[in-house]
């Protein structure tokens, strides 16, 4: 039997209650991170220790690093509250505010997408950029325009990646001993060789199964597609995220990558599979592209947002200077969250009318144009085989 609420409007939904709904969402969100955190600890700590390539102290580094990310963000936010809010003078009040602000999440997410051998002071810098600059200066939880963790990551990537590489980079103690890997992640191998070859891109790391499981070089907690899928199922089931956002985002990247492969002489399904299992796409699609504050609110807006993310990720990843494109595309699209929300709200509420058809056409043209440009441009960069001058030494 259907249940009806009796009483006078306006009605308050359970999820609109700040102390209940958001708390539950964030609790579920944190639970969703657990598979990835555990896998990151297993892959970069426990497994390496068992294989004899790390000490006991090194074994605990990944998990401590992630927890420290959360703690640092909380401390920074706590300091901000004490300085800016006269009412925050006791630990109890501060903790209450931190709890409502979900202070630890940017730091945890940031730590998860950084390389294993990131020095702690670099993490502190990233947390300041994420929490203080991106979140608190914009008004705190719910008011930030950009994804805080990604801004922290990009700030580090553009300024301190050399420090991280000098400190050890992405390869853990076991990966560094594998000759075939030679210090590169799959995407950086693609970026340096421009070669769509299974032997070059996949074989050095084992097989695509390794990509799926996550036993390939990469950032601390973003390599496992399996863990991401588990989290995706959990978060979707708990209605923390909309299931179609990651699906559309990843699907767009898959489709465009497949076309790039075909246009460059590599029609195998392995290449688009490689493309979606490499780098931080899965992680970004599940945890960043679905972030409730910095992404559109209405379903149509989310779909448009995800489509744009897909084409921009392909554009940045395959055409840009850096091998990864997820963080940049999400941050870039964060700028357009508000207009997308506005346009799509109009389309959603008014349906296909003379007024809205133009908006639909403009959005469609933009997506198609960017995707086409990416495909054309990629055609002049990549090839499926080694070029003749490269093959015959001395011609250059």
């Amino acid at each position: 039997m259907a249940r009806f609420a009796n009483g006078k409007a306006p009605f308050l939904r359970k999820t609109d209650d700040l102390t209940y709904g958001t708390q539950v969402i964030m609790r579920d969100f944190l639970i969703g991170l657990i598979p990835l955190i555990l896998f990151a600890w297993y892959k970069n700590g426990i497994k390496v220790y068992v294989e004899g390539n790390a000490t006991l102290l090194e074994m605990f580094y990944p998990i401590i690093f992630i927890m420290l990310g959360g703690l640092i963000s909380m401390v920074i936010e706590g300091l901000f509250f004490i300085i800016t809010d006269k009412e925050v003078r006791t630990l109890k009040v501060m903790m209450k505010k931190l709890q409502l602000s979900y202070a630890m999440i940017p730091g945890i997410l940031l730590a998860m997408i950084l390389p294993l051998y990131t020095p702690i002071w670099v993490l502190i810098f990233g947390c300041i950029m994420a929490t203080f600059v991106t979140k608190l200066l914009f008004g705190g939880f719910g008011y930030n325009i950009f994804n805080p963790a990604l801004i922290g990551y990009v700030a580090i990537a553009f300024t301190l990646m050399g420090v991280i590489n000098k400190a050890g980079g992405v390869l853990n103690g076991s990966e560094v001993l594998i000759d075939a890997i030679a210090g590169a992640t799959p995407l950086s191998t693609l970026s340096t060789t421009n070669l769509l070859s299974y032997q070059t891109l996949v074989a050095p790391y084992g097989s695509l199964w390794n990509f799926f499981i996550g036993t390939i070089p990469g950032a601390l907690a973003e390599t496992s597609a399996l863990a991401c899928i588990i989290s995706f199922v959990w978060l979707s089931a708990r209605k923390v995220i909309k299931w179609f956002v990651p699906v559309i985002y990843i699907g767009t990247v898959f489709g465009l990558s497949w076309l790039i492969g075909i246009f460059n002489g590599q029609a195998g399904i392995w290449f688009p599979t490689f493309s979606i299992l490499s780098g931080g796409l899965m992680f970004g699609a599940v945890f960043m592209a679905t972030e409730p504050v910095t992404t559109p609110k209405n379903p149509l807006g989310k779909i448009v947002f995800a489509l744009f993310l897909g084409v921009f990720t392909v554009l940045f990843r395959f055409i840009g200077q850096y091998p990864e494109g997820v963080a940049t595309s999400i941050i870039f699209m964060n700028i357009f969250t508000m207009p997308i929300d506005k346009w799509t709200s109009v389309i959603r509420t008014q349906g296909v009318t003379k007024k809205t058809i133009i908006k639909i056409i403009i959005l469609a043209i933009l997506i198609i144009a960017i995707a086409t440009y990416a495909l054309i441009k990629a055609n002049s960069i990549y090839s499926a085989s080694i070029g003749l001058p490269l093959y015959i030494g001395g011609w250059n």
Partner: protein, 397 residues
């Protein structure tokens, strides 16, 4: 204070936590980075060693025209001791690595990497042996710690003597380079040892002949000592015939002392090998000539330089001592690698020093000059021979 902590305690606490994370976390991440750096360095070293090993294996394979495959294995342990050149004692070589060489699945050769000793330890040489012909077909020098200016005198031409070197040669002897006798000897020791191991592993019979040295001494007879530096008492032949023979300074057979059954060519060859390896006598100094009328004795001593020290001595009329001061011609320089710390005057200061010690009291036990060991040793041997020669003339011996 209480109010201060009430107002700022939380702030200070958070700042302290942040500083604590920065400091302790910094130490922790530095520790992890350092551990990782050690691992990376070890991995790099391991990679480098693997590359070097691959290059070495490729060079071994290249020595065999029909070789298609190399397989590493652990060879038999053979205990064998050889005399080093000069009076530097004995040395036991060892096998570092060994490899079977195949053509398809058929074994065609073997490579022994022998750790020998030239002037220094660590003269590691790979000897490639064709098992069909029992022949050393070439060598690859893996490592050496020799004095490079001296070692470089071993030219490519010199190394060709190891190509197609038959193991059934009665007595293995490598032509030594005058400037690098110790390194040359190191190669000879390595080759001899490789043959020994090969004999054990592949059932190869090392050719031999029945000849043994009973004793060896110096020849003090002025009529013969110029060419016959040593006299060796040997037993040879199936009948174990005893005979005394003259040997040159390089231990070559010169002839029979008096009457007796002469040695066969094979016995002469083997005698040279065993005499040079026996360590019973030293060839660091020797008599060149003696003029009975003028009583002038000319002797040579081999110091550091390839050109020997020439000592001209005039005996007194009663032939029981030395008249005047010996004339010494020396091209020793004392400033080579061997004499890096020598602090005395130029040549022939060391030679004069030692001979004057002998002239002062007639005692053949003289003190060497610090940091001029090789020259000192050569001169000590010369003084020993000189004293014995005078004793022989006066009939004191």
């Amino acid at each position: 204070m209480k109010i201060f902590f009430k107002n700022y305690g939380l702030l200070m606490g958070l700042i302290a936590i942040l500083i604590g994370i920065f400091a302790i976390g910094g130490i922790y991440s530095r520790y992890v980075t350092n551990q990782h750096a050690v691992l990376v360095a070890e991995a790099e070293l391991s990679r480098l060693e693997a590359e070097q090993e691959a290059a070495r294996v490729a060079s071994y394979l290249a020595l065999f025209a029909q070789g298609t495959k190399v397989e590493k294995y652990t060879s038999e342990t053979v205990d064998k001791t050889y005399n080093l050149s000069g009076d530097r004692g004995e040395f036991s070589p060892s096998i570092i690595d060994s490899y079977h060489i195949y053509n398809g699945d058929v074994e065609i050769g073997v490579v022994y990497v022998v750790s020998s000793k030239g002037h220094e330890d660590g003269l590691n040489i790979a000897f490639a042996i064709d098992i069909a012909t029992d022949t050393c077909i070439g060598v690859v020098v893996i490592a050496n710690a020799e004095t490079q200016t001296i070692y470089s005198t071993l030219t490519d031409t010199w190394f060709t003597q190891f190509e197609n070197f038959q193991f059934d040669t009665l007595s293995i002897e490598i032509d030594a380079v005058a400037e690098a006798t110790e390194s040359s000897k190191g190669f000879e020791i390595g080759l001899l040892y490789a043959r020994e191991v090969y004999a054990v592993e592949y059932g190869f019979e090392i050719p031999t002949t029945n000849i043994t040295i009973v004793s060896m001494t110096y020849n003090y007879n002025p009529d013969t000592f110029a060419n016959a530096v040593f006299i060796a008492d040997v037993i040879h032949g199936e009948d174990n015939t005893a005979v005394s023979v003259y040997l040159s300074r390089t231990y070559d057979y010169v002839g029979i002392v008096g009457d007796g059954v002469t040695l066969t060519i094979d016995e002469q060859t083997v005698l040279k090998t065993i005499a040079s390896a026996s360590g019973l006598v030293s060839n660091k100094s020797w008599f060149v000539s003696y003029n009975v009328d003028t009583r002038v004795l000319v002797m040579n001593a081999k110091g550091f330089k390839s050109t020997p020290i020439v000592v001209t001595i005039t005996l007194n009329a009663t032939l029981d001592g030395i008249e005047g001061i010996p004339v010494i011609t020396s091209s020793e320089t004392y400033d080579e690698n061997e004499y890096g710390d020598y602090a005395g005057g130029p040549a022939p200061e060391v030679e004069n020093n030692l001979i004057n010690q002998y002239l002062d009291d007639g005692n053949i036990v003289v003190d060497g000059v610090a940091d001029a060991t090789i020259t000192s040793n050569a001169m000590k041997q010369l003084i020993y021979l000189l004293d014995n020669f005078i004793s022989t003339l006066t009939g004191d011996e």
